[in-house]
Amino acid sequence: MRPRIGRRISLNVLALIVVACSVFPVYWMVLTAFKPTKDIQAETPSFLPTNVTFTHFGTAVNADGFWLFWRNSALVAVTAVLLALVVACLAAYAVARMKWRGRKQFILMVFIAQMTPWEALLIPMYVIARDTDMLDKLTMLTLIYFMVTLPFTIVTLRGFLKAIPIELEEAAQVDGCNQFQAFRRIVFPLLAPGLLSTSLFGFITAWNEFAFANLLIIKNQDQRTLPVWLSSFSNTFGTDWGATMAAATLFMLPVLLIFLVLQGRVTSGVAAGAVKG
């Protein structure tokens, strides 16, 4: 069954169009970030990197508070993910390796929690933060991001745990390990790649979160995170599109790197995991 040549060519042209549509906005962002201002404002835009400059990155990095917001974002995301990882590991082990009453209900709760429309909880979170004196504090954001990433982390870790044969642990226990030692020496090393990729996905979620960060940090602008800062670029850079795109590029970099590291999992495992919960 050899398809006709004409069909093959039109398929390939379609494929190139899809690639172009997917990549162009990102390409344009990075290209603008490296263009000298006079080229950005030129009558005819150039679609290839002819003159490369780093001035916009300089402007973005030296903008007021950039490093502070970078630090805030990283601190909140990393703390939330580590917290979620520890809590999820315990729960996932209980679900994947033990029989107990209420286990099914617990899993159902986690599934439902995973689908929570967080956008609908902005108002009560604001009221609760006010009540408990947590407005303008990164602690509150950290707690929220921990909760947002926790259900997904439990579900994926449970999947990874299930894939590790229980016989390995049993054998270790026969050899005289207790349950905890068996977990630490046998399961944990096998689980490590799963832990890494899961936590990286949690990190992306927290790193990108905008709505709560925008709502809960009002008076104390030093506690802002990168997405909020980036969304108000017109206050920071005015119409300096080069600097704006440089800032957006820097904001994207960690996420893109994580996707590249996880590319195998992104396109297969996690996609299926995200749908199957």
Binding site: L11, M115, E119, L121, V266
Partner: protein, 293 residues
């Protein structure tokens, strides 16, 4: 030892109770109270029964927002599902090199953070220096010379749709493609021997086998688009002239700019209820698929 599993899940249960169940209950309670700026600062809110719900349900504005949210969701999800299916089928029909290129391109579009993507789209459609206007003028559409996309309701709505579709197609397409690779090749081959073309092969074989998967992705996309907030808020805050005002944005706006937290909470509750219906369909489908918990 009997207690160990319960000890292991206690942190999760506590976290969920305080950071998810409690806010949800609090939202429900506020929606039955009179809760404005005074109550926020001083505390102590009076219950007013169903007054808030009466007020929003009798407001023409609310119903136009509900209608707009449904239209917005329908347009986005139809485009996402159509394009994602087409792209997934395309990936399956390509040779190895181009297949990797398309998948790589999709991952790049998927990986870009929402706020960064939003910023880029504002730049692409910028009136004076934006590349979109330049291309349109170069193609002979003179009226797009300096056209202000974000000053017009319909064009702002269209840009937000393009942005959301562009960001959502990769996940759906890659997931559908991964599912399509599980359909046995023999079925396709025998269909072709029987003389079925590409379209009939899809409608008779691929789609029926993958129907549950299509159902799950459809539910997910409906949920994601319906509750979409960040893109709209960052680009237009619901404007210009309410053209992009959907339920989540409306709830936020009412709470923020009018300080009517009670009405905002009531609107949020309506949003949650509508989403719960879609969620039920999603879970039913999922448990049918999984069979075990």
């Amino acid at each position: 030892m009997r207690l160990l599993p319960y000890l292991l899940v206690v942190p999760t249960v506590l976290g969920t109770a305080y950071l998810l169940v409690y806010p949800l209950i609090r939202n429900l309670v506020i929606s039955f109270q009179k809760f404005g700026i005074a109550q926020l600062i001083r505390g102590g809110a009076d219950f007013v029964g169903l007054d808030n719900y009466r007020q929003i349900l009798s407001d023409g504005m609310f119903w136009s927002v509900v209608a707009r949210t449904f239209v917005f969701t329908a347009i986005n999800v139809a485009l996402i599902m159509g394009l994602a299916t087409a792209v997934a089928l395309l990936i399956g029909a390509l040779g190895k090199g181009l297949r990797l290129a398309v998948m790589g391109g999709l991952v790049v579009a998927w990986a870009i953070p929402v706020i960064a993507a939003t910023t880029v789209f504002q730049w692409l459609f910028q009136s004076q220096l934006g590349v979109v206007n330049w291309v349109l003028v170069a193609l002979g559409f003179e009226r797009f010379e300096g056209y202000a996309w974000f000053a017009n309701g319909t064009s702002t709505f269209a840009i937000i749709v393009v942005l959301i579709v562009w960001q959502s197609v990769p996940f759906a397409a890659l997931t559908l493609y991964a599912a399509m690779t599980t359909v046995p090749r023999e079925l396709h081959e025998s269909a072709q021997i029987d003389g079925a073309g590409g379209v009939r092969t899809f409608t008779l074989i691929t789609f029926p086998i993958l129907r549950p998967m299509f159902g799950l992705i459809l539910c997910l996309e409906i949920i994601w688009v319906f509750k979409c907030f960040v893109q709209i808020w960052a680009i237009s805050q619901g404007g210009p002239g309410n053209a992009t005002l959907t339920l989540p944005v409306y709830a936020y706006q009412v709470a923020q700019s009018l300080n009517r937290y009670d009405l905002g909470a009531a609107i949020s509750m309506v949003t949650v209820l509508i989403l719960a219906v879609v969620l039920l369909a999603y879970f039913r489908q999922m448990f049918k698929e999984e069979g075990e918990l």
